[in-house]
Each structure stands twice: as structure tokens, then as C-alpha cells.
């Protein structure tokens, strides 16, 4: 059956500024994939996109990948070793001692679906706004210098609410 082609005049009439803000709380591979899929998809269709990384989500932004003692103080360093950045992100279910993320990466490549790393690169290319949570950084002993340079600013709740006002907000 022939697919109906969209009426493009209607689209022009409905044109308006759209905005999506996502609180990226989880450091899990699958949940971060959801964050970056929604973010890049929305940015590509013209949305302004704000990503606010907090708690475990901050791990995705670290420059230093791999299990290294990032952070100031003994306990933050222990967390740093156990977390280890985007490439070490575990799957939220059936992680199989860290084997699952690699299996997922293989299945994603095989099926021509963008991997988490490709989505992150796309997010950078699309000028998505990356923000880091000031409070969580304080707990984990992290500074802005520990993160990729695309992190635009370090924010608290009040500024995040201002940024996300008038758009859609998700917590993942």
C-alpha cells in the first residue's frame, strides 16, 4: 500500500519553538541510550535540547574513561574506580558481570542502530546543551574540569527549572 506523503503546508503553519529537557540521572548503558536517542532525535527535528546530568548520569560525561580514581577525596575516588565512565556503563538488567554492554554494542552495530558512543558524538554535533548538577558533583568530588568540554555549565535546580520552562521534561 502506498504511504501517504505528509502535507508540508500544514507543517509550516504549525511552526513554533519546541524544547526538550532531560534529567539524566542513571549511569546505565540502556537508560543513557534512551537519553541520547531522544535528545539527538529531538535536536535533529529542530528542538532546543537541554541535558541535565546528575548522580550516576555524571559518569557519562567524564573525560577520563576507564576505571580510574577521578574525584577529590578517598570515597569519591573509590566511586570513580567502580564507575569508570561511559565505556564501562552497565546494563540495568542482565548485566552478566559487564558482558552485556559489549553484546549490546555488537547487536546495535549489526542491526545498523547507532551505538551509545555514536549518539554522544551526534549530540555534540547537534549542539545539544549539556549541563552538570552542582550538588551531585559536590558529593562525588568532581569539578567541571573532569568533564568533556561540551559541558556548558554547572547548574542547580532553580536554573534547570528556568531552562526547561515552557518545554517537555523527562527524568531518565
Amino acid at each position: 500500500m502506498a504511504q501517504q506523503i505528509p502535507d508540508l503546508n500544514d507543517v509550516l503553519n504549525q511552526k513554533q519553538t519546541k524544547k526538550l529537557s532531560i534529567i539524566a540521572f542513571s549511569g546505565d548503558f540502556d537508560k543513557l541510550t534512551a537519553v541520547f536517542t531522544l535528545a539527538t532525535g529531538a535536536a535533529a527535528v529542530g528542538y532546543e535540547v537541554n541535558l541535565f546530568f546528575t548522580f550516576w548520569g555524571l559518569d557519562a560525561l567524564k573525560i577520563k574513561q576507564g576505571r580510574s580514581p577521578v574525584g577529590k577525596g578517598f570515597l569519591p575516588k573509590v566511586f570513580g574506580v567502580f564507575m569508570g565512565g561511559l565505556k564501562s556503563a552497565p546494563v540495568s538488567r542482565l548485566n552478566f558481570l559487564g558482558a552485556s554492554p559489549e553484546i549490546f554494542r555488537y547487536m546495535m552495530r549489526k542491526n545498523n542502530v547507532a551505538t551509545l558512543e555514536e549518539l554522544l558524538e551526534a549530540a555534540k554535533a547537534l549542539d545539544i546543551n549539556f549541563y552538570a548538577c552542582e550538588m551531585a558533583m559536590h558529593i562525588l568530588g568532581l569539578t567541571k574540569a573532569d568533564f568533556i568540554p561540551e559541558v556548558k555549565d554547572v547548574l542547580g535546580v532553580a536554573t534547570f527549572l528556568e531552562l526547561s520552562e515552557g518545554g517537555q521534561t523527562l527524568f531518565i
Binding site: Q3, I5, P6, G41, A43, A44, G46, A114, A122, L126
Partner: protein, 75 residues
């Protein structure tokens, strides 16, 4: 005025839009991008989002391959 081609028939959401958007961003005003895509979500949404972002969709033509269309977008 240059003419460019982009094949997203093997891509899936969100890379269909992402690759189109990144490619369009590289073009100069007046340049043409021929996007080869499949029916379903890409055909429904790639031309729509191009128009929303202020580009001109000059034509949408089905190719000899069933279900594959060429969307011609001008910056």
C-alpha cells in the same frame, strides 16, 4: 549551487534525522541535498522536519526500488 546526495535507507531512528540535519547544516544557502530514504517514519518525518527548520522541500519521488523515495531539499 552544489548538489549533494545522502542515503539513509540503512539508518534507523534517530540517525535518519540526525544525519540529514548534520548534512544540511554543512550546505551553503541554495545548495541541494537529495535524501534517499525508506517509507514509514523517515518518509513521514524527514521532509516535515526540513520544512519546520526553514528548508525547501522541492520534490518527493518514489524510486524504482519499492518503498524507497528521494526527497530533494534545498537550503
Amino acid at each position: 549551487m552544489a548538489n549533494y546526495n545522502l542515503d539513509i535507507t540503512h539508518e534507523h531512528c534517530p540517525m535518519t534525522f540526525v544525519k540529514t540535519k548534520i548534512e544540511l547544516a554543512k550546505l551553503k544557502s541554495g545548495d541541494i541535498l537529495n535524501v534517499r530514504l525508506t517509507e514509514g517514519e523517515p518518509l513521514q518525518n524527514v521532509p516535515k522536519s526540513a520544512v519546520e527548520q526553514g528548508y525547501n522541500v522541492l520534490s518527493i519521488v518514489e524510486t524504482e526500488t519499492k518503498g524507497v523515495h528521494i526527497v530533494v531539499i534545498q537550503k
